[in-house]
């Protein structure tokens, strides 16, 4: 390592600069529009094409660790669904932690959009078993979800009217930070032929792009960028839209760090033979 780099050494200088960039950028927010790419529009169009009153299933498969990326995405999608007067059913395949979080998100979004519980949306439970659970609801919904998250019988929930199995949903959206999308792909798309959309963390996005070509998913929302694009499409700027300029600034800062690090590294290398 070059002496300059050593002098710069303490990692908290790098972290401090990044922290400062993030804080200052968030303090001076600028509203920006993010045009929806075809990949994100695939989900938007699928929701847009559904007839009024259609049931749509959202699998909320994330816990608080992925809140920053996936909550804005889920709120924008929920708002879009209720604008289109769709019936939203929310469940989880991920972990028991997911449903309490989903409940908070859905109830908050419902207040903002004037959606009524049990009429415009219904919360189901977390269902363990991944693929086995998807295969089971493909045959009989009530065998896996005999009652809602709040212990109401399915027959007492108007939003569940006409839903007896997975195939009754016109569209399934998996918002995930885990591999639960594989269960939806294998069980839902491959076995039962459902239409699937995916919202996932940025880390996962590259793994699922090939599914777009083969039309196994209609669209993909990857991380904060995907969420910001969806917010722009539904004209509902939220936390993702607020966060994206900061994201871009961090990118620039990191690029500058990489350039500076390389310059210092090569400068140090050139000096070494002279010293010898």
């Amino acid at each position: 390592m070059s002496p300059e780099l050593k002098k710069l050494g303490p990692r908290w200088v790098v972290f401090g600069i990044l922290g400062l960039v993030v804080t200052v950028s968030l303090l001076f927010k600028r509203s920006t529009e993010f045009p929806g790419t075809p990949v994100v529009k695939g989900v938007y169009d699928a929701v847009e094409e559904l007839p009024e009153g259609s049931p749509i299933l959202i699998s909320s498969d994330f816990d608080p660790g992925s809140e920053a990326e996936l909550v804005p995405m889920m709120k924008a999608i929920l708002a879009h669904c209720w604008r289109r007067h769709l019936r939203v059913i929310v469940m989880s395949l991920q972990s028991p932690n997911a449903m309490p979080l989903a409940q908070g998100i859905v109830e908050e979004a419902a207040r903002d959009n004037g959606a009524k519980e049990d009429e415009d949306y219904a919360l189901m439970n977390y269902k363990p078993g991944n693929l086995a659970a998807v295969l089971a609801i493909g045959q009989d919904w009530a065998s896996q979800f005999p009652e809602s998250y709040k212990h109401r019988k399915l027959a007492d929930i108007p939003a569940m009217k006409g839903i007896t199995r997975l195939g009754d949903f016109k569209y399934v959206l998996c918002i995930t930070a885990t591999t639960s999308v594989d269960s939806w792909l294998l069980g839902g798309v491959t076995k039962y032929g459902i239409k699937l959309g995916l919202g996932c963390t940025a880390v996962m996005a590259t793994d699922y792009y090939p599914l777009l070509d083969t039309k196994q998913i209609t669209g993909l929302l990857g991380g904060l960028a995907g969420a910001a694009q969806y917010e722009s499409l539904v004209k509902l700027p939220g936390k993702a839209t607020d966060g994206m300029p900061t994201q871009s600034l961090i990118h620039v800062t990191i690029i500058l760090f990489i350039v500076a690090g390389n310059i210092l590294h090569f400068a140090g290398k050139r000096r070494k033979p002279e010293a010898a």
């Binding site: 990692r11 972290f15 990044l18 922290g19 993030v22 804080t23 968030l26 303090l27 809140e67 920053a68 990326e69 972990s95 028991p96 932690n97 449903m99 309490p100 979080l101 409940q103 908070g104 109830e107 207040r111 439970n125 977390y126 363990p128 693929l131 086995a132 295969l135 009530a142 065998s143 005999p146 998250y149 709040k150 212990h151 792909l185 294998l186 069980g187 491959t190 076995k191 963390t201 940025a202 880390v203 996962m204 996005a205 590259t206 090939p210 070509d213 083969t214 039309k215 196994q216 990857g222 991380g223 904060l224 960028a225 936390k239 607020d242 966060g243 900061t246 994201q247 961090i250 990118h251």
Partner: protein, 308 residues
């Protein structure tokens, strides 16, 4: 676990799943704890220290405790304990209320397989846990393999055989970018597969193709890593946004509009600033105390610390 404890745990009408809003006092305490623990975790950026350790242990303990509670109420109780308990009561002609969904004595089989898993702790009976694992792995593989082959091998192959390397846009015109994408995918898949074929020596044309495979792999890893960094940035942005919101004296307009009308959000009263000062002071105090202790202790046979 004896029967009375099981009965108590399985009682109907036990605490329902928690709501995210548990009253104003809980919200105030939650807000200050969230800010305090976030800052405490960030002290690791300076270095490993007792405040970070404390926050880390509380986080892991609380997360696991909460997960266990949720797992009991959302999974074990409604799917196994309650239906099985009702089925057992019905079998001995003492029905415990109206029938439960999925009530069947067949649930004894998964219950026993679950209990077998815990036999890992008893060396003499540990072999029985393999039955549970064998069932789990067998059932998963049986369900998954045929569907995996269709979804991840047949579907992409079908797509490429159907379209080759020529893509068209919505109007039926030749699409340069789409075609390049198809070509890159085809070449990439073949090249990467050849790179992983170790039964042929990598020399001559095979070496060239394998090298191409490495380039594709590196591009793939680079894209994945870029997205990973972006994901971490998003988490940082979320946390800093939260800290900024809680550095204000009053709750943000956004929080006010999102809260239920009968339960407004608590005012943070500059929680971030107060806790930032307190945590920095605590880290400095702990560092000074540590240095004082190290300065006072002279290990046997070691030279005294040099001063000046």
């Amino acid at each position: 676990m004896n029967l009375s404890v099981l009965t108590m745990l399985a009682q109907e009408g036990a605490t329902p799943p928690p709501s995210v809003w548990q009253g104003h006092t809980a919200a105030v305490i939650g807000l200050w704890l969230a800010v305090g623990f976030t800052l405490a975790i960030y002290t690791f950026l300076y270095k490993d220290n007792p405040i970070f350790k404390f926050a880390e242990h509380v986080f892991v303990g609380a997360s696991n405790g909460y997960l266990l509670w949720q797992a009991w109420h959302q999974t074990v109780k409604p799917n196994l304990v309650m239906p099985l308990w009702h089925a057992l009561r019905a079998a001995v002609h003492h029905p415990a209320g109206p029938p439960q969904p999925n009530e069947t004595l067949w649930l004894i089989v998964p219950a026993v397989l679950c209990l077998f898993l815990f036999l890992r702790f008893i060396p003499k009976a540990a072999w029985l846990s393999r039955w549970s694992f064998a069932f789990y792995v067998g059932a998963s593989a049986g369900n998954m393999i045929p569907l995996q082959v269709v979804a991840y091998i047949f579907k992409p192959m079908d797509f490429h055989l159907r379209y080759g390397i020529v893509a068209h846009d919505a109007d039926g015109h030749f699409a340069w970018l789409g075609s390049f994408n198809l070509l890159a995918t085809l070449v990439g898949v073949i090249a990467v597969l050849i790179y992983f074929v170790f039964s042929i020596e990598h020399k001559g044309p095979v070496k060239a193709v394998a090298r191409t495979g490495v380039i594709f792999l590196m591009i793939g890893f680079g894209a994945s890593f870029g997205y990973t960094v972006m994901a971490r940035q998003s988490l940082l942005i979320g946390k800093v946004q939260n800290l900024i919101d809680n550095a204000r004296s009053e709750a943000t307009e956004d929080a006010k509009s999102n809260a239920p009308p009968d339960n407004p959000p608590p005012n943070p009263h500059h929680a971030t600033l107060w806790l930032l000062v307190a945590i920095i002071a605590a880290v400095v105090a702990l560092e000074m105390a540590k240095k004082g202790r190290e300065g006072g202790e002279v290990p046997q046979g070691a030279a005294p610390p040099q001063t000046g």
